[in-house]
């Protein structure tokens, strides 16, 4: 069935993203991984929206709206994230995340 393929794709992308977030040391790479995670979610939303649309053509495209919403939020989030990365770089001349342990409790 069509839905399964989309969901599988989403799951794979999600895992790749999670792996990237956990394993990468470069902050920019982590941000990119987060984008991947968010987009995997988008794929799920669009897929479900499509399925429901087939069942009931009159309904409103809620899933699409959600996806658009997430894209907007992701853009903002990347903006903030890159600004933080930039500041970290200016302070420390490095964006290696494993060297950042100021938050150690």
């Amino acid at each position: 069935m069509l839905l399964n393929q989309f969901l599988l794709l989403g799951a794979v992308l999600f895992c790749i993203g999670v792996y990237g977030v956990i394993a990468r040391k470069n902050a920019v790479m982590v941000l990119m991984s987060i984008e991947v995670i968010l987009n995997s979610v988008n794929i799920n939303l669009l897929a479900f929206d499509r399925i429901w649309m087939q069942a009931d053509p009159d309904r409103l495209p809620h899933g699409n709206v959600f996806a658009l919403y997430i894209i907007a939020v992701a853009a903002a989030e990347v903006g903030v994230g890159l600004a933080m990365v930039l500041l970290i770089y200016r302070n420390r001349r490095s964006i290696a995340l494993d060297e950042l342990s100021e938050m150690k409790g």
Partner: protein
């Protein structure tokens, strides 16, 4: 049904009638402006006060004009052209608010807004305009304006000049708010504002003990009556289920109440409030003492505001009193209101004979005239009583301002007629003429204002079969004429004495006192009694104008006070205006000339029908000179007898009447009985207050020591014991144990979780996703 009709009426009524709430609002706002900014103003805040009163006066005048138009419109052709007493024809159901009964029923115009509502009871504020309210509004605004102008000179240089104007402005605002009140709550609000302000104004010179005492006495005495107002209002609420004055009047007049006895009790309770406020017997004792305030205050208090409040309450809620006390029921000879009013007329007039202080003569005269108004209301002469409020305000205000003018300019700030006045008629012509006109109006000499109102009351008493009160009325008129003649003689005729003697130019004192330095000294030598006497009469120690302040006059660049001149324009202009009005205002309602314009404007406000029937006000009697004649003869007799006796007793020539009260035993007894004011003050202060205050305070002390202290101590000891036990077992073992235990647990948990907080972002991320994964797993497991 009420409010629909009222809104309709208001829509066509005109701007002033709809916005009448501004009349009290402007002075009330001015009060705050004066309090906050008055001291920084060039004239110390008096300009704000006068401007606000002028604003109120303009709106009140506009309201009055539009009301007259409104009456004309509602009255139709019949009401407008009908002349004579038959105007208020039978079947004229005046209290009907909707106006559906007849074309000439003039509906009151009510413009209200809900202040608050409590479980279905809506308490409104706003304006309730009818003839009665319009009359009083115009009167209060007008007289307040004149009195404030007068005050700019009279209290000039006073240390609390700004506060004086603030208080007097708020005072007027209180009266105006009360007059406009659509509900009993606003009525009480205005009533209490006046009570407070009268306290502040009477005690304006509180540095001297008698003044402070007089202020307290006024406040407490009125307060005794005020309880009646609260109780009566609560009873009205219980009877009618509403606090709206219009509805109460309507329901009372229509007989829509459960229990007549309850209504009677409410009327009595409300009338007790009027006894306190309007200085009726037996609570009149505060009014003469209220003379301790500055003269403009006395003038305002005793003419159009404060003391009129009680009469206004009876007139305002007339159906309640009329129905509750069965006024005008066939065969009724006495009723509560008429009896109290009648007693007040006579006893106050009698007291006025033994006063040496000119303001006290006027104060008792006010009490007596208020008695007339109450008596008028008590015998069913509603219109005449309201008209007497109206005319009395002008001439009594003028008389007080004359007294102030005499004291301010003529007699060195003394109000004692016997020691410091006399022979002032030539030196103060304006004051003298105004005094004579106003006195004539007060005595009820034909064609002056007081004649038309007072004669109507007396005539109505006879016409409505209250024969006793007819005689009370004419005897009161005789006494009024006599005591006013005495006061006039002492003040303006005869040889100048004391302070007034210095006033006379070319007098042999003049050379002697030409030097300022010598002046005060010589004065004190000459009048060793005057200071003591002034104090004995609790009067008028002006702090800025005391007896020691003579030379300030000379330094101000004014003529010396003993040069011949009348008062400055701020004093004389209000006097002239009021004097002129005192002469002519009676023609607004002069049955002798078929002029009943005033009655036509206000009669609808009585809330009752005129004519025959149960709960109807009888038509006013036809005026005839023969009916008025006994009263007029007695007035003339009073003037002649009193003038003769005054010349004999107070004149220079030796006379067998001199010292009569000292020689004749019965006369002496009567004299001292009067001088001691029927011993009522002694009764109140020494007997009642002692009887109540001392046992109560002793009992309270005992209760305090034995019961309350014992209880407090017992509770204290018990509490301490309990506390010890609690400390030992509960606090130490249980509470502390729990606290310590939780602390230790938290420490252990923190220690074991510490490694998680590595500070490495990627580890946080891994934990986050791990947790999310666990959560997702749980969800899946739960849902399947």
């Amino acid at each position: 049904m009420f409010f629909a009709a009222e809104t309709e009426g208001a829509a066509t009524a005109g701007w002033f009638l709809e916005n009448a709430w501004l009349i009290p609002a402007i002075p009330a706002a001015a009060f705050f402006l004066i309090i906050f900014f008055g001291k920084r103003m060039p004239k110390g805040g008096s300009e704000i006060g006068i401007a606000s009163m002028l604003g109120a006066l303009v709106i009140a005048a506009g309201t009055a004009y539009q009301w007259v138009q409104h009456v004309k419109d509602s009255g139709g052709a019949e009401g407008e052209h009908a002349v004579g007493q038959g105007l208020l024809g039978a079947g004229r159901w005046i209290g009907e608010e909707g106006g559906e009964e007849a074309g000439h029923a003039v509906a009151a115009i009510s413009n209200t807004t809900d202040w608050f509502s409590l479980g279905g009871l809506h308490v409104s504020v706003g304006s309730y305009i009818d003839g009665l309210a319009v009359t009083l509004l115009l009167l209060v605004a007008f007289i307040s304006t004149l009195v404030q102008i007068y005050s700019t000179e009279y209290v000039r240089g006073d240390r609390r000049y700004t506060h004086f104007f603030a208080a007097i402005t708020l005072f007027s605002a209180g009266m105006l708010a009360m007059v406009l009140a659509p509900s009993m709550v606003q009525f009480i609000l205005g009533w209490e504002i006046m009570g407070l302000c009268s306290f502040m104004l009477i005690g304006h010179w509180w540095e001297e003990l008698p003044n402070a005492k007089a202020a307290l006495k006024a406040f407490y005495t009125v307060r005794v009556g005020d309880m009646g107002l609260l109780v009566g209002t609560a009873m009205l609420l219980a009877i009618f289920g509403t606090l709206e004055i219009g509805e109460i009047n309507h329901l009372a007049a229509a007989g829509e109440f459960e229990s007549k006895n309850l209504l009677m009790a409410a009327a009595v309770a409300l009338f007790i409030a009027c006894i306190g406020k309007s200085g009726q017997f037996p609570l009149h004792t505060w009014l003469p003492d209220a003379m301790a305030g500055p003269t403009p205050v006395s003038s305002l208090l005793h003419s159009s505001t404060m003391v009129v409040g009680g009469v206004f309450l009876v007139a305002r809620l007339y159906p309640v009193f009329h129905v509750g006390l069965d006024i005008n029921i066939a065969g009724q000879q006495f009723n509560f209101i008429a009896v109290i009013g009648g007693i007040t007329v006579l006893i106050a007039a009698a007291l006025a004979f033994v006063q040496n202080d000119i303001k006290r003569v006027l104060a008792y005269s006010t009490v007596s005239q208020l008695g007339y108004m109450m008596m008028g209301l008590g015998v069913g002469a509603w219109t005449a009583a309201v008209f007497h409020i109206f005319t009395h305000a002008f001439f009594k205000c003028a008389l007080f301002l004359c007294a102030g003018s005499v004291a301010h300019t003529g007699s060195h700030h003394s109000f004692d007629m016997k020691t410091d006045m006399g022979g002032l008629r030539k030196k103060m012509p304006v004051t003298f003429v105004v005094w004579i006109i106003s006195t004539a109006a007060l005595m009820g000499i034909p064609f002056f204002a007081g004649f038309f109102s007072k004669d109507e009351i007396i005539d109505s008493a006879k016409h409505n079969d209250y024969t006793v009160f007819y005689f009370v009325g004419i005897i009161g008129a005789f006494m009024t004429a006599a005591y006013m003649t005495r006061a006039t003689y002492l003040t303006f005729f005869g040889a100048p004495r004391g302070g007034a003697a210095h006033f006379v130019h070319g007098d042999d004192h003049h050379e002697e006192l030409a030097h300022d330095e010598g002046h005060a000294h010589a004065y004190a030598e000459e009048h060793p009694h005057s200071e003591a006497e002034v104090e004995a009469h609790d009067a008028h120690g002006h702090d800025a104008h005391g007896h020691g302040a003579h030379d300030t006059h000379a330094h101000r660049g004014k003529p010396l006070p003993f040069a011949p001149h009348d008062s400055p324009w701020q004093l004389t202009v209000p006097l002239i205006i009021l004097g002129a009005l005192a002469a002519i205002v009676g023609f607004l309602n002069a049955p002798a000339f078929d002029l009943i314009w005033f009655e036509h404007q206000v009669a609808a406000a009585s809330g009752l029908p005129f004519g025959e029937g149960i709960y109807a006000i009888p038509h006013p009697p036809e005026f005839s000179w023969s009916a008025a004649m006994p009263g007029l003869v007695l007035v003339a007799l009073g003037i002649l007898v009193s003038a003769y006796l005054s010349r004999e007793v107070f004149g220079d020539a030796p006379s067998r009447f001199k010292g009569l009260t000292a020689r004749s035993k019965p006369l002496r007894a009567g004299h001292s009985f009067l001088v001691n004011k029927y011993y009522l003050d002694a009764l109140y202060e020494n007997v009642i207050v002692h009887a109540i205050a001392y046992p109560i305070s002793r009992a309270a002390y005992w209760v305090n020591q034995k019961v309350i202290d014992g209880a407090v101590n017992g509770v204290g000891i018990g509490t301490r014991r309990t506390g010890e036990l609690v400390y030992k077992y509960v606090d130490q073992a249980l509470v502390d144990g729990a606290v310590n235990g939780s602390g230790a647990a938290a420490q252990a948990a923190g220690g074991s979780l510490q490694p998680v907080q590595s500070g490495r972002v990627s580890m946080y991320g891994a934990l986050l996703f791990g947790a999310a994964a666990v959560g997702a797993l749980v969800l899946v497991l739960v849902n399947t």
